[in-house]
Symmetry: C2
Subunit: 421 residues, 2 copies
């Protein structure tokens, strides 16, 4: 199969929004995101497929082999983190385009249409760096988030999703296709496959995750003229909260819980003014829901004590709570067989990161595949996966999609959105 | 004397850029700052005085009684902190306008011109909240900062002083007047006068202050998929530095040192990305230079240890170092006599906050006066000084200015800019 054309396309896409250190910066609905979208649209049109853009900016390239039949979707996302890596998301979209081309050629040659049609998808705003929450486009598509509410979400400068998508011409009006199944390939963003020398990861479940929206309200005052004892410094209290969020992982077994504060804004943010308000977002993730719940309870109790000690107010709100979601066993067995047929080693694993497939798995049987990440690093310019591993993954995705359009998972069930671990 | 007209003007100015909780938000060279500038310009023109705007946005209203004679300057600044108080700066400018009106009327009545002319001044960007460093306009006027360099200073959105002043029409071309002396009245921003029931503070010296520009360089990575042990989280390290800056005050006698971090920016500032870079500004102030120097040395040593522990890079640069500057003894004695003649209690004190008078004192003998602040709070909406105290201060400033234009400090010397405590 033609892997050179795939690699050429992949490395071309990596030039769009390219950064000085081999990364990309293509945050959702920016000019750079628009360029990759234009490239994707041209690929779809050049292949003779129908292009649809829905009301939250998701893009679909439709291969209709059997008029009226539902579609198997394959794809990922072309947006990136600020100074993100070339592979996260883009690999899955470019691989899906090439898998679709291969299958389209097979169908044309074979002369018989598969049971289901195929569509390649580029989901809007998987990263959530500019507009929270992440996994926005696929979650709206899956009915897990409300479209109108998401269109009103502002970035830090106050621009809404609606205005940003409108400005780049990707606030569509089409309705996405009826879905019979979903498959996605992605870099692992961890070290398990690399360490064990395994070609393909089969994701059996996602981690339990949740965020805490934390607002620290102190009192603004003059840094020079206000005695230390008279201050209610929101940033000093926020710093202690950041360290609490970090240190709470030590209460659990190594690797059982990850936590972080990645977003913080400070008001008034003046060098000679004691801060009146700090807003920050904490992120908690674990394979065990009880671990997250226990860490959250400890943080809330500790924050309450801190607020009293500092005589300031701290508002804490839960948001973006994502239960463990299991991918269907039938899909895992199918992927295992495809890998074996291709002579590829594979193993099951959990994903700590969120993915569009986790949202899609609530509306259709979904298969999530990983290829190895060098050093396990991700969301940074140093993110890397070899050409050989990417080509192997393309073969794997093609094989899985071939089975899915043939109806291999016709008896599998999507996971109910409300199903908790 | 007509104190009602003064109070009417003061409370009118407080409506420009007024905030919901009785404060003002008039950061340097914003639309709100422009409105107070327009008001100031109209006051100067209506009084028949000459208006000059210099190349860093300082505004002068000139009362030329004796052609060719140098000028005594009186004034302060109309810009504020974000969500700042009504009194800080604006009180001194409005009081100076009214003191000048009173003296102008006296000169017209008396028929003999004083030795020096008088000018009312509104200094550009005393606060430094939008453009660092603070005390910018008076420092350029005094030759302590370079005009061209200051015009290139950007705010957090990248707009330079040059563009911001140009946009509001206050990047002037005039040269300020030749200076024979300077007087400024300001709220104390501390609790000494209130606690002791004293009407007027006579500032004998400024505190030693310095800032540290601290850049924390970690590595960007995925919050979910990166193990805690593999992270180089710039925000966790920065939080520890913020607490170090706070806690270093405990190494010294109570009240001997104040410190703070009031400005911080985070990159990429995405909820699901471990921060790669945090930039923050620490502020250290003390009546004793050795205390600041000792605190700085401890912080730099502790930060070095921290950087090694976290395997990240921290760059620390000194900037905005301001030595203790003493106001001339002759000026203090003069002010003491004026207060006594008015039947006002007064005492000497140090200023922990920076003021335009500290810069002006390096080019001409300067007198800095305080009126009481309720609860000592400042740089916030809760800042407050009574009408009665403001009127008392206006009388005091008028008396001091009357003596200065008469030549009372003709034998006093300005403090050389290089003079350290």
């Amino acid at each position: 199969m033609n892997s050179a054309a795939f690699l050429k396309d992949f490395h071309h896409v990596a030039t769009i929004g390219a950064t000085a250190n081999s990364g990309v910066d293509r945050q959702a609905a920016t000019a750079e995101d628009a360029k990759t979208r234009d490239w994707f649209a041209a690929q779809v049109r050049d292949a003779g497929w129908e292009l649809r853009v829905d009301g939250i900016g998701n893009m679909f390239g439709l291969l209709e082999w059997t008029p009226g039949a539902p579609y198997v979707l394959i794809g990922s996302h072309l947006d990136s983190q600020p100074l993100g890596g070339r592979f996260d998301g883009a690999y899955g979209v470019v691989a899906a385009l090439h898998a679709a081309r291969r299958l389209d050629a097979e169908v044309a040659e074979g002369g018989t249409a598969p049971r289901f049609n195929l569509a390649v998808v580029n989901w809007f705003n998987e990263e959530g760096g500019r507009f929270a929450p992440s996994i926005m486009g696929s979650s709206v598509f899956a009915g897990l988030l409300q479209r109108e509410q998401m269109l009103d979400v502002p970035d830090l400068s106050g621009t809404t999703v609606r205005d940003a998508l409108g400005a780049i011409g990707y606030l569509g009006t089409a309705v996405g296709p009826e879905v019979a199944g979903y498959a996605e390939i992605h870099i692992e963003q961890g070290r398990i496959l690399e360490r064990e020398g395994i070609a393909i990861g089969l994701v059996d479940s996602s981690w339990y995750t949740q965020k805490l929206d934390i607002e620290v309200l102190g009192e603004q005052s003059h840094t020079g003229a206000t005695a230390m004892a008279d201050r209610h410094d929101a940033l000093v209290a926020a710093s202690k909260i950041i360290l609490m969020v970090h240190d709470v992982t030590n209460d659990f077994a190594e690797g059982a819980l990850v936590s972080s504060v990645g977003q913080l804004t400070l008001e008034p943010n003046s060098p000679i003014v004691v801060a009146r308000r700090v807003h920050l977002v904490a992120d908690l993730r674990s394979g065990g829901p009880d671990i997250v719940k226990s860490a959250r309870a400890k943080l809330i109790a500790d924050i309450e004590v801190l607020a009293q000690e500092h005589n300031i107010k701290v508002n804490v709100k839960d948001f973006d709570v994502r239960p463990i979601r299991r991918f269907p066993e039938a899909g895992l067995e199918l992927a295992d067989k495809v890998a074996a047929d291709l002579g590829l080693s594979s193993r099951r694993l959990q994903t700590m990161a969120g993915h569009d497939s986790v949202a899609m798995n609530t509306v259709a049987p979904s298969i999530m595949l990983f290829v190895p990440s060098v050093d396990g690093v991700s969301h940074c310019e140093r993110e890397f996966t070899t050409d050989a591993d990417m080509v192997t993954g393309l073969d794997m995705l093609t094989g899985v999609a071939r089975e899915l359009v043939a109806g291999a998972l016709i008896n599998a069930q999507a996971l109910p959105a409300a199903a908790l671990a």
